[in-house]
């Protein structure tokens, strides 16, 4: 039968990004002893997912912008609706592409380093489950199922973070796991409270019912949800866990975490602010949170002496940009935020992958141990410089465009807090450049110097042989991601078009609500004339 | 069933549970605790019986079945790994 006749495609495509990876995960685990089979299965599965998500994005954007199905053909208010709108599909595309690239990278690394620290038979299923969890979070139209989605990706991330069970990873893993457990608890509490007040966890239904709830109670629920998501998105003061957790993991793991996981939190915040609690009661609060996140984060980066950690701090800092856009609450702001998310996922992942290559090459990521890489390995130098400048918001890269959009939105709003945020954003951008330049100076230009006080650096340096050739299998996906990052600049026009339309849909919630509430009962998707 | 009877039963069970709980807390040895835990499980089972008898429904029978199994496994697993404990260890809370 034709999977794509008329509006039947959502029935097929929407579940795919979740079901297929899980299916593959089961398969790969059952085949724990056949690494090659595992490799084939997971690569195939994720490739199909990439194709599916791209198709979804195109069909959604070309079509009526929002599609929904209810799992098991139940009425969506009783069952669990999966919703594809421009926002979620865009997120899905970016995340699936990044996930695939990182998988390829990690496979190459595994091959090169003889499965160093990445036990394959665990790695594949876990990684697949992670990607399923991320997709689920983006697709779910049900608050409790969103929680489940979070749990899926978190559980997987716990395992990936502690792979190999070395001292450092167990320590970092513990911090990460416990904080995440707490955040889940907060989220779960919020869900219970929401159900108390409304008697539903269906997000579309909620956006209708919450309006009738006593505004004071609304505020409490609203803020509690924001706290829960804020931890995941790592906004100040809920962000301190992140830089302690990510850097110790294997490079590809760090990369995919840095790129994706926090963004899922940001995504949830967007939904909270637009679908569940429109009207921005928390707008001003978020503005200041955004400022604090940007500034404290980037100051943290300036103070660091290790590339991975430094990047982790820039990660936190730049979450601030997205929150800034959300907090503005205008179409322009949201659009900028959405675009920035897409940009940041790609670039942050790329940078961590490159750092992984650097670590493989030089045996360390400490600025004291690194040096004159520009001379020793020009390829890595270029691969680092481009995304680094992109991150620092140097034009014409996507980072600049995202920032431009956000600043324009801020100036449009024109209130004094907005201008303060604009200033903060500019300062952050300058300090980011400064931090990046620091890395470039010390790691790529300056000669490496002897540092006796850095014992663990020495340990690292001896861990892997220095100056090893970077296998093409790792180089290619990284380069590909660099190109994608630059490519965003080229296709920025249409991309911003999508994010603009996404922002529009988010602000007038009717497309989402109507589609979901009318959908499902018959199974399949239902058109809502716009 | 007569509410007075139910009230009496519940009262006795509660006191029993609290006393057993005290033993779980005091120990001194792991085995004392596991014994006390067994009593608590028994209290739960009997409590379920009281509830079932009072409301004349069988929905909780599976729960009772399982709990009957549970007490056994719990205490055996602790007994299996019981280790020699010095007296001053027992002293501590």
């Amino acid at each position: 039968m034709n999977l794509f006749d008329g509006n039947d495609w959502p029935r097929v495509l929407l579940p795919l990004p979740v079901v297929l990876p899980l299916f593959a995960a089961g398969l790969t685990l059952a085949l724990a002893r056949r690494p090659r089979a595992q490799r084939t299965i997971s690569v195939t599965a994720l490739s199909i997912v990439v194709a599916a998500t791209i198709a979804m994005l195109v069909l959604t954007d070309r079509g009526n912008g929002t599609y929904s199905i209810a799992v098991g053909g139940w009425p969506s208010r009783l069952g669990i609706p999966l919703v594809a709108d421009r926002l979620s599909t865009l997120m899905l595309v970016v995340s699936s592409v990044v996930t695939l690239a990182v998988l390829l990278y990690s496979l190459a690394q595994g091959v090169a380093d003889g499965e160093e620290g990445t036990p394959v038979s665990i790695y594949h299923p876990t990684y697949l489950v992670l990607s399923a969890g991320v997709s689920n979070a983006f697709l779910s139209g049900d608050l409790f199922n969103l929680y489940v989605g979070f749990e899926i990706l978190l559980a997987a991330s716990y395992i990936l973070l502690t792979l190999g069970g070395t001292k450092a990873r167990v320590r970092a893993g513990t911090t990460y796991v416990v904080v995440s457990l707490l955040s889940s608890m907060v989220f779960l509490t919020a869900i219970a409270l929401v159900y108390m007040a409304t008697g539903t966890v269906n997000m579309a239904e909620l956006s209708v019912r919450l309006r009738e709830v006593d505004p004071d109670v609304q505020l409490v629920l609203h803020l509690l949800l924001l706290v829960g998501f804020g931890i995941k998105a790592a906004v100040f003061p809920l962000s301190a866990w992140l830089p302690d957790s990510y850097p110790t993991a294997p490079a590809p793991v760090t990369a995919v975490f840095a790129g994706l996981l926090t963004k899922v939190g940001v995504y949830a915040i967007i939904r909270t602010e637009t679908l569940l609690f429109p009207g921005g009661q928390a707008g001003d609060l978020l503005l200041w949170v955004a400022l604090a996140t940007m500034v404290v984060g980037i100051l943290g980066a300036v103070a660091q002496n290790d590339v991975k950690r430094l990047l982790s701090f820039t990660l936190v800092s730049h979450i601030g940009y997205m929150v800034f856009g959300i907090a503005l609450g205008t179409a322009a702001g949201l659009s900028g935020a959405v675009f920035y998310v897409a940009h940041h996922i790609t670039v942050q992942t790329t940078l961590f992958l490159v750092t992984g290559l650097v670590e493989r090459y030089a045996g360390s990521t400490s600025l004291d141990a690194l040096g004159s890489l520009a001379k020793r390995t020009p390829v890595l130098a270029v691969l680092f410089f481009v995304p680094a400048m992109n991150l620092a918001g140097i034009p014409p890269f996507s980072g600049f465009l995202g920032k431009l959009g956000l600043l324009q939105a801020g100036v449009d709003v024109g209130t004094w807090p907005a201008y303060v945020l604009v200033a903060g954003g500019v300062v952050t951008s300058l300090l980011t450049l400064y931090a990046i330049a620091k890395v470039w100076n010390r790691a790529f230009w300056q000669e490496p110097q002897e540092h006796t006080d850095r014992d663990e650096v020495a340990g690292l340096a001896t861990a892997t042989q220095i100056g090893v050739r970077t296998p093409l299998g790792m180089l290619a996906p990284t380069a590909a991601l660099v190109v994608v990052g630059v490519g965003i600049t080229v296709i920025a026009g249409p991309l911003f078009g999508i994010s603009d339309r996404a922002a529009q849909d988010l602000l007038d919630r009717s497309p989402y609500v109507d589609t979901v509430l009318q959908g499902g009962a018959s199974g399949g998707a239902t058109e809502v004339p716009r | 069933m007569n509410p007075v009877v139910i009230a009496l039963c519940l009262g006795m069970l509660t006191v029993a549970a609290l006393l057993a709980l005290l033993r779980v807390a005091k120990g001194p040895t792991m085995l004392d605790r596991v014994i006390a835990l067994d009593v608590i499980v028994a209290v739960v089972v009997i409590g379920l019986c009281v509830e079932a008898a009072a409301n004349r429904h069988a929905t909780t029978l599976p729960v009772i079945v399982v709990l009957a199994l549970v007490g056994f496994v719990g205490s055996v697993s602790v007994a299996r790994y019981a280790s020699k404990e010095s007296d001053e260890e027992r002293g501590k809370r």
Binding site: P15, F23, G26, A30, L31, A70, V71, G73, W74, P75, L78, G79, S121, I122, T126, V129, A132, N136, N145, E151, A155, I159, V178, L182, A192, Y195, M196, A197, T200, V217, V220, L223, P237, L238, D244, L299, G300, I394, P396, L401, L404, G405, Q408, V422, S429, N441, W445, E447, A492, G493, G497 | L37, L48, P62, V63, L69, V70, F72, V73, G74
Partner: protein
């Protein structure tokens, strides 16, 4: 015009291979790119001079107003010529400047070419965003160019300094541009300028633009980066720091002058900073010994001069500005190139060491002198014409005029100092030995010198575009020409030279004076202080916020919970109208026990004690579930609680029985305080939330559909395996992952062994397991347990109950759809059966009991559950849609099969897999590790 940029881009990309291939000769080839620009501009000349403005617009990001819009108006035309021409010459010059096989030269060539491209784009930009794009690009490229000698600390630092300072200005400018763009409703340069918005915001924006301009053009107080940037190779200085990049600021000022000059803020900023810079630069320049630095400070001075001229916003001043722009670009580049040659041939730039070069390289000396003369404003050279015009433009303003004269005096003086210092023979200094440069090497400066010399007599050529630029500016500009007759400007020129002569003659005394004179406050030191301060603040803030302690992180999160939602609650106090004390007395009684147990748990100092007390709360909660009519909950809770207890016992058996004693009792009270606060908040939240219930729960429609659509009587179970099967699928994948995680942590050897965790029944030691034989074995491997732990009673009972428990577990799965039970409960019960086997017979017994691979169980479980979803899709149903199949069978009667059962079976398998995995890891493998350590 886009093509020009593409040419540069391509050239830049291919520069590296080209240099690898042709070595230095490649530069000549690359020079063609800017040369092409020049030629193209030259051909556009007539049109432009006719007042046409060729345009090209390529859309880019419409929603940001960002597009590639190029526009060639007179100002752009002039600058394009300069940028292209000088660029071409410098690139050509590089061919001789770099030593053969210089490893860095390839990178350098690429970046320099890219830079010329960026510069061209900058001066052609007709879109504010695009302007900023190329502006920043020039910054980045200059960073790379200045840092050419990356191994030198001074080079790295200068590069960073230039980067940070100019980016700072650039970002300020960006904000300015955005404000203007948003207010004007367009980012098209020409349109913005036509109807320029007004208002305080715009005023601020204009000032921000100036910040960008002066930082880029190294005006006070940002001037310091330019001299430091002299660490760059001389061609860079000649191009970036004389002709091109530093002119970007001037260009911006010139662009906005027509609108900006209306604002007093603009006027003051431009005049004050410009004049200060002009004087300060000249003053500094006079005391330099490094001739390159002398030129650098000279440049600073001239940039100040230029700013004043193009920023004044009068026709006359602007005309003069254009003239000086051209003049300066030509003579200063020439001079830098000359210094480059000198340096290249002699190896020094210190005028105290240089002597008698004039005789050794006469051609070079001539070139240098001519260029210097133009700089000094000696008649017939371009510099002269420009200065005359400048004087003329400010006749109405004696103060400015006076300062201009002073600046020009200094200029003339350091020009002289340059010529003297570089080429003259000095008393007591031995003649510098040096080989004369090749003709090709001198060619570039020669051309530039020629241009600067001829531009004087041919001034009218420059006059036309200048006039066009100044066209609709206030005031009258007299035409640029060599000779205006005897006029005040001419007189001033004479004065200028007279004073300059004095300075030159009395140079020793002047130097002495400067040495004793007040050291001008070092803006550079200010910059460093700032950077250091930023770093310190960063350390302080990070040290304060990033404590690295998990408890602190958790505490801060919890405090946020208390402060933010809790604060909001206490602020608004939407207490519920009424509450129920309890639904039945049971809740209260159980509550007492649970609460007591919970409190005791907190006080526990023994691991297992805490665990058991927590277990008590768990069983209490089981009862609460029953009292709330949730048999499925109670069932699962009881089982989960027990499995948890077993896992605790297994995992903790090796850990010390006591928690390590607490360091601080004080922090303990803090912990408890936070706990109480959070607990209270939670309760209050619950009160207000349920008080605010607005509608009947959606689940009111669930039961009927559960039977009609889901085909089951147990609504909860139907919800789990059908209506919300999506949740369940996710949740079992969580279990799967958790199981793999446990294995990966306990089987800490390499992958192979973790596979064993899943493969496990082929335990290598299985065969050589200890044998303590008995006549009759009740359990296959019972005989492997040491008698200490062995009990025949236990074995016999296990033997009798094992299969029974399994039957029970299966029963729970199948009855689950209509009664309490289901996949989870069933799986956990089966798990308990296996636990019993393990406890009774040890790890060998367990491995014989479970000949199946845990990974296989887990995997196939998820495979089955997710598979049912996929199948659903493929056969044209909704994902995880349930079918109810009913049929009659002889003897068996009516059979009703609900397909969601398969899903539940998947769940069952997976849960069993989890238990197997846990026992195999925390049970069997840990046993093995213990035995290993004992045997060691």
């Amino acid at each position: 015009m886009l093509t020009l940029l593409l040419v540069h881009a391509v050239a830049a990309v291919f520069a590296v291979p080209l240099v690898r291939w042709l070595d230095r000769r490649a530069f000549t080839l690359l020079a063609l790119a800017p040369a092409a620009t020049t030629v193209w501009a030259a051909f556009q000349g007539p049109a432009v001079l006719r007042g046409e403005t060729p345009e090209v617009v390529v859309p880019w990001v419409p929603s940001l107003g960002a597009e590639l819009a190029f526009r060639l108006d007179p100002l752009s035309w002039v600058l394009t010529l300069l940028v292209g021409g000088v660029g071409a010459l410098v690139l050509f010059y590089c061919g001789s400047y770099f030593h053969a096989k210089d490893p860095g030269s390839a990178r350098f060539a690429a970046v320099l070419t890219a830079f010329t491209g960026a510069m061209t784009g900058l001066v052609l930009a007709d879109d504010l965003v695009q302007l900023y794009v190329f502006w920043e690009l020039t910054t980045v490229f200059s960073y790379l160019l200045i840092g050419y000698d990356a191994h030198k600390r001074s080079a790295r630092r200068a590069a960073t300094q230039a980067l940070v300072v100019t980016t700072f200005g650039g970002l300020a400018m960006l904000v300015g541009l955005i404000v203007i763009g948003q207010r004007a409703g367009t980012y098209r340069f020409s349109e913005v300028l036509e109807n320029f918005p007004t208002g305080p915001a715009v005023t601020v924006a204009v000032v921000l633009l100036l910040v960008g301009a002066i930082s880029k053009s190294a005006l006070v107080p940002f001037h310091f980066w330019l001299p430091a940037a002299m660490a760059a190779p001389t061609p860079v200085s000649a191009y970036l720091h004389a002709a091109a990049m530093v002119k970007a600021g001037i260009y911006l000022v010139a662009r906005f002058a027509p609108v900006g000059a209306q604002l007093p803020e603009w006027q003051t900023t431009v005049l004050v900073l410009g004049l200060t810079t002009m004087v300060l630069g000249g003053y500094r320049s006079l005391r330099q010994h490094d001739v390159k630095l002398l030129l650098a400070f000279g440049t600073v001075s001239q940039l100040g001069f230029l700013t004043v001229l193009v920023g004044a916003g009068t026709a006359a001043a602007t005309t003069a500005g254009i003239a000086l722009l051209v003049a300066h670009a030509t003579f200063k580049s020439a001079l830098f190139l000359v210094v480059g040659i000198v340096d290249h041939q002699t190896g020094t730039r210190d005028l105290r060491e240089l002597s008698g070069l004039g005789r050794r390289m006469p051609l070079l000396a001539v070139v240098g002198t001519v260029a210097a003369a133009s700089m000094a404003g000696v008649p017939v050279a371009a510099g002269f014409v420009a200065k005359e015009a400048a004087y003329a433009a400010f006749l109405h303003d004696p103060v400015v005029l006076g300062v201009l004269v002073l600046g020009s005096v200094l200029t003339a003086a350091y020009s002289a100092r340059f010529v003297w210092g570089t080429f003259w023979r000095k008393a007591g200094v031995p003649d510098t030995t040096a080989t004369p440069p090749s003709a090709g090497f001198v060619a570039a400066p020669l051309v530039l010198a020629a241009v600067t010399l001829l531009a004087g007599p041919l001034a009218p050529l420059v006059d036309r575009p200048a006039a066009l630029v100044a066209h609709d500016l206030p005031g009258e500009a007299e035409h640029l020409a060599l000779w205006h007759g005897f006029s005040l400007p001419l007189l001033l020129t004479v004065v200028t030279f007279a004073l300059a002569a004095v300075l030159v003659v009395a140079k020793e005394r002047v130097e002495g004076l400067q040495a004793r004179g007040p050291a001008v406050p070092g803006a550079d030191r200010g910059y460093r202080r700032t950077v250091r301060a930023v770093d310190r603040i960063a350390v302080e803030v990070t040290g304060a916020t990033q404590r690295g302690s998990l408890p602190i992180y958790l505490a801060s999160i919890l405090l946020v919970v208390v402060a933010v939602p809790g604060g909001a609650l206490l602020w608004t106090r939407p207490w519920p109208s009424d509450v129920v004390l309890y639904d039945n007395v049971g809740q209260v009684l159980v509550g007492i026990v649970v609460v007591t147990a919970a409190v005791l748990t907190v006080r526990a100092r023994r691991r297992l004690r805490a665990v058991m007390l927590a277990g008590v709360t768990g069983y209490g909660v089981t009862l609460l579930f029953v009292l709330h009519a949730g048999p499925d909950l109670a069932l699962t809770q009881a089982l989960a609680e027990t499995i948890t207890l077993v896992v605790f016992v297994l995992a903790l058996r090796r850990l010390p029985p006591f928690f390590s004693s607490r360091p601080l009792v004080g922090t303990r009270w803090v912990r408890i305080a936070i706990g109480v606060a959070v607990g209270t908040c939670t309760s209050l939240f619950a009160l207000v939330a349920s008080g605010a219930r607005v509608a009947v729960p959606v689940s009111i429609d669930l039961p009927d559909l559960a039977y009609s659509f889901g085909g089951g009587k147990n609504v909860v179970n139907v919800t789990l395996v059908d209506a919300r099967a999506w949740d369940t699928m996710g949740e079992i994948s969580v279990l799967l992952v958790a199981a793999t995680g446990v294995a990966s942590l306990v089987f800490r050897r390499r992958m192979g062994s973790i596979d064993q965790a899943f493969a496990a029944h082929t335990d290598p030691q299985q065969q050589d397991a200890p044998q303590r034989s008995r006549a009759q074995s009740w359990l296959p491997a019972g005989s492997t347990v040491d008698p200490e732990r062995r009990s025949v009673v236990f074995e016999v009972v296990t033997r009798l109950t094992f299969h029974a428990i399994l039957v029970l577990s299966v029963y729970l799965v199948f009855s689950g759809h209509n009664q309490p039970g289901g996949g989870f409960a069933g799986g956990l019960v089966a798990g308990l059966a296996l636990v019993v086997r393990y406890l009774a017979g040890g790890r060998y017994e367990f491995n014989t009991a479970v000949p199946i691979n845990a990974g296989w169980l887990l995997g196939s479980g998820l495979f089955l559950s997710a598979g049912t979803g996929l199948v659903g899709i493929l056969i044209g149903q909704d994902v995880l849609q349930t079918a109810i199949i009913q049929f009659d069978v002889v003897l068996l009667g009516h059979v009703k099969l609900v397909t969601s059962l398969f899903f539940d079976v998947g769940v069952y398998l997976l849960v069993v897999g989890l238990v197997v995995d846990v026992i195999r890891s925390l049970g069997a493998e840990v046993d093995r590790q213990i035995e290993e350590e004992v045997s060691r």
